[in-house]
């Protein structure tokens, strides 16, 4: 970004080392915990509605020792992973078909642009009717939400194929299948990974939503049960856990993205840029 070596120093000051940055970050987190501890203790907010941080973390620790929580966690992540996988495969296939069939891209544009912004939560009543409080509901919502994220990126990706590369492949008489494998797929891969990253976080949100609202088994249901049974500290603890899993999901997909793209020789440039 910055042009010359001199440009950074004015603003950077003493914040140049990684250690200092981490120290500030830790201080920020400590500050949040202290605030969460002090606000209820000082009676600014009633402890019944916002327990002190120590109690929240204590409740979370207690929950983590129960088998039920781990089962719920497994169900949430299972639904998330399965839904994401279905959406991913379906979207990649759909994207390739749309690219291969002449005219389909132009013909499907209006339909995609209409269906894409439909909030997947609109399907909650349908999910409830069709599947009730089960994995099926989770899957319906997760797949619908994640599908569009991947599809749009796949379509950008296959449209981005360099015409010169494609012409070269044609002039050497590569078959259609071979062109897809050697030209289209490597070009589209970075886009597809971006789609996967976006879809992964949306899928996690929808998995939790289905559990929370429809009542499919999982972490969301546990939160809802904790709330309705008045286990306030437990509820907060589970919300914290949901945040931590959200971070883990993001990190995991980022690591995967970097690995897939770094391994692929033809897209190394993209990773670097």
């Amino acid at each position: 970004m910055t042009g010359s070596p001199g440009t950074r120093t004015v603003t950077a000051g003493s914040m140049t080392t990684k250690g200092a940055k981490a120290a500030y970050g830790l201080a920020g987190l400590a500050g949040l915990l202290a605030l969460m501890e002090a606000v209820p203790r000082l009676g600014i907010v009633d402890e019944r509605f916002l327990p002190p941080a120590s109690e929240i973390l204590g409740a979370l620790a207690a929950e983590l020792r129960t088998a039920a929580l781990w089962t719920a966690l497994g169900e949430t992540l299972g639904g998330w992973a399965l839904g994401l996988a279905i959406a991913f495969v379906a979207a990649v296939l759909a994207g390739v078909v749309i690219d291969l069939v002449p005219g389909l891209r132009a013909a499907s544009h209006s339909t995609i642009e209409f269906l894409r912004p439909i909030p997947s939560v609109a399907l909650i009543p349908l999910a409830t009717l069709l599947f009730g409080a089960s994995l099926g509901s989770t899957l319906l919502l997760v797949v619908y939400a994640a599908f569009w994220q991947v599809l749009i990126q796949v379509m950008y990706g296959v449209a981005d194929v360099d015409t010169v590369a494609d012409d070269t492949a044609r002039s050497y008489g590569l078959s259609r299948w071979s062109r897809i494998r050697n030209v289209v797929w490597p070009t589209a891969l970075p886009y597809i990974m971006t789609g996967l990253r976006l879809a992964a976080s949306v899928a996690f949100i929808l998995a939790i939503t289905a559990e929370l609202v429809v009542g499919s088994p999982g972490l969301g249901l546990e939160i809802q049960v904790a709330q309705s049974s008045g286990a306030v500290a437990t509820m907060y603890g589970l919300v914290v856990l949901a945040g931590l899993i959200g971070i883990a999901v993001n990190l995991a997909v980022r690591v995967l993205e970097r690995r897939v793209l770094a391994w692929h020789p033809s897209v190394r440039g993209e990773v670097a840029s």
Partner: protein, 254 residues
Amino acid sequence: MLEVTGLKKVYESTGREAVGDLSFQLDAGELACVVGPSGCGKTTLLRCVAGLLAPTAGTIRVAGVPVTGPPDNMAVVFQEYGRSLFPWMTVQQNVELPLKEKKLPKVRRAELVAESLAAVGLADVPRSYPWQLSGGMQQRVAIARALAYEPEVLLMDEPFAAVDAQTRGELEDLVLRIWQRLGTTTLFITHDIDEAIYLGQRVIVLSSSPTVVLEDVKVDLPPERDQLATRALPRFTELRGHVYAQIQRAKDTR
């Protein structure tokens, strides 16, 4: 008008000494060029003079006043024209913004904008956006903005490094014409020896970093410059050879 005394800059983060004991001065109305080997701290020098970077030691005075932040009577034309113009403002708005900050009345602002755009030959595009213009035209807008500001000292940081050779010649003549008309004290930083000799009354040759002044060359060419005639003068070639040798020496002694 511009005095740089014992300027020294060490970057805290890396401990690198970019500029070591550097001194020179410019009289009012002078046009001096600064050349040096690449990576010699030219930009650091400019940022210190402009008040954008605090020096480690030494002082800079503009019209006798020590520089502690960007002075009011100074304007800068940066190398990166594409990044120093606001892409969301038209040419006219770009030139006018600093004048608004100076709290000039509207009529005066309109006058200054029109005059300075005319001076750089862009009277016909005030409502265009910078990105609709070519690189050379964008740099003209940046020059017009500096002129409209009516500075006593004008700093130019390799302003033509990123434009093509033909445009470059035109812009050099533009700078000369404007300087001859307004007599603004100008410090012109460049890495191009020909450009420095062609434009300057003086050429300040810098060493490689930590930078000091190697030599202050007086350019004893006739004041009327011309791209073909001036560059063909034997004296021009001599001066160029001299400065070139100095810079080569600076590189070798690194």
